[in-house]
Assembly symmetry: C2
Homo-oligomer: 321 residues x 2
């Protein structure tokens, strides 16, 4: 299989490197680190064992990437205003598209660009990794993927042959891969965790253990989860109370965790407010569902993001082709 | 007139010193600074002119304070669990009580202790002042008072002879003093400003100008003000939309201001969450009015206060008699 990786950061660099190591041809799109990676390749520091790829197919613009079977989109959603221009030109006719981004709505955008008949998949990453020096990626924990097929308005698509084929390849490459027959449900269920914990971690400057240690904060986490349930219900997606309870109790007992949004904030990177809060709020709002605490969380994050960004070089990790 | 000042800080020390300078007998209750003030008196650094009182009636416990005509309560509301024990024993029979504290509910508490028939007044301070070194108070800006008489459940009491007498004395002492015939309305109207700006200044680590500069934050300020309107309405108090608009526009144009709650936070002092948010929320809640954004603001502040306090010496400015 031939892969294109759009965005060679903590996610795209890690999974792309694993695929290349397993024998697949992988083309990596880079911006800042392009020259370095072209010369020196990629180095993965992983809790499962370090490895190097001294030679990789590095591209400074997507127009040089040859036609691939699969395009993995691994930009931060905060760069999605660039996405259309960053996709290789042949994408309009060729290749399955798998977006590994956070939150909700990217598949919908891709379907609008590419047409409903194209194979558009979503991948949920359960991984703790970050970019280090140029060409270096650090993988601390977890690492599994859950993939599902996108249909109009996240209508469940079941298990398709393409999903099974990709999952089989990725498992052979050492990536624990699950298939969901209902991508929308999986994405909303992930939001059940991401909305309270990513959001509040920035507002309260707290890790998961600190958020779960204090009564009023625990109640607020629960309140926000219940609003995510309401938002999901407005889209016909049922999130069980048992899922909510299980997430609360497992988060209370897991090792202290600094969320990805908090790590972005600490590095003065833009926050993924739109994908995690804005788009879900807009969907619910269209159905007349008012969610005051999620709205307030988005308002607070916009303020903090705005002031955090003022002192920051915002140049994206990849540039338009 | 003879005055007792319970809590000789930025508020009680300032107004008490002005009354003594004007010829009144004033008795100051102190804790940490008792010995210093007993020896060296008080020093006021004021934008209206500095002055010293080398000799004051300093008390380390309230049992030594002689019977007074007026008791001024100027503790932070966060110390109100101590208040009953800090009041002089003769209070059950003698003296008018004026509470200069923030927020809502202190007069109600005093009326429960002292009985409905006692003269209980509320004073709203529009002042920017803080405590400096022992015995030193810094008055930066403003300084006016609005006083009103308390009746059961903040029923409007009109303009009483006592209010007029106090206002006349205080004006002669150089304190700009207005009378409100409706203390409840005045307190709710002050909350219209205090809820959003005190609360968000801590959560967002922002001054008033920063809060008004950014669209989503301005909207959140407005949302919170609308919830305060709803809370007031649940108590039969009407806050006009024009008041809300006027506060928004005057705050947008005034010099950048660091709120009292933010200054308390920066000094790792306990936050006045209960008086400004908790009690108003409880009153509205009893009437079945749900206020999600005010609730969330209180939840966030509880978390931040809790973690801020963990590294702090919480000994109160005054100790029980």
């Amino acid at each position: 299989m031939r892969y294109a990786v759009i965005g060679t950061g903590a996610i795209g660099g890690f999974y792309g490197a694993k695929l290349q190591r397993a024998g697949h041809e992988v083309h990596f799109l880079l911006h800042r680190d392009y020259l370095h990676v072209q010369r020196h390749g990629l180095k993965i520091y992983s809790k499962d064992g370090d490895f190097s790829l001294p030679v990789v197919n590095a591209h400074g613009k997507s127009s040089t990437i040859p036609i691939c079977d699969v395009v993995l989109i691994a930009l931060k959603t905060t760069q999605n205003q660039l996405l259309k221009d960053l996709l290789p030109p042949w994408i309009v006719h060729h290749g399955a598209v798998v977006t590994l981004q956070n939150g909700l709505g990217v598949e919908t955008q891709l379907a609008q660009w590419l047409g409903q008949d194209r194979a558009i998949l979503g991948g949920l990453c359960f991984i703790c990794s970050h970019k280090g020096a140029p060409g270096e990626i650090h993988h601390q924990d977890y690492g599994s993927l859950t993939i599902g097929a996108y249909g109009d308005h996240y209508t469940p698509q079941g298990v398709t042959p393409l999903l099974e084929s990709l999952a089989a390849h990725w498992r052979l490459a050492g990536v624990e891969t699950a298939i969901t027959p209902d991508l929308g449900h999986a994405r909303w269920k992930k939001l059940l965790w991401n909305v309270p914990f990513n959001g509040l971690s920035v507002v309260l400057s707290a890790n998961t253990t600190e958020m779960m240690a204090h009564g009023p904060t625990r109640q607020l986490v629960r309140d926000l989860m219940e609003e995510v349930q309401q938002a999901a219900a407005s889209q016909g997606v049922t999130l069980q109370n048992a899922d909510l309870e299980q997430m609360l109790s497992s988060t209370a007992t897991m090792a202290p965790y600094v969320t990805s949004m908090k790590r972005d904030y600490n590095r003065q990177m833009p926050l993924e407010i739109e994908a995690i809060l804005g788009y879900p709020l807009a969907l619910a709002g269209r159905e007349g569902v008012v969610l005051p605490k999620m709205t307030m969380l988005a308002q607070l994050l916009h303020h903090l993001d705005h002031h955090n960004q003022q002192h920051c070089d915002n140049s994206p990790a990849v540039a338009p082709a």
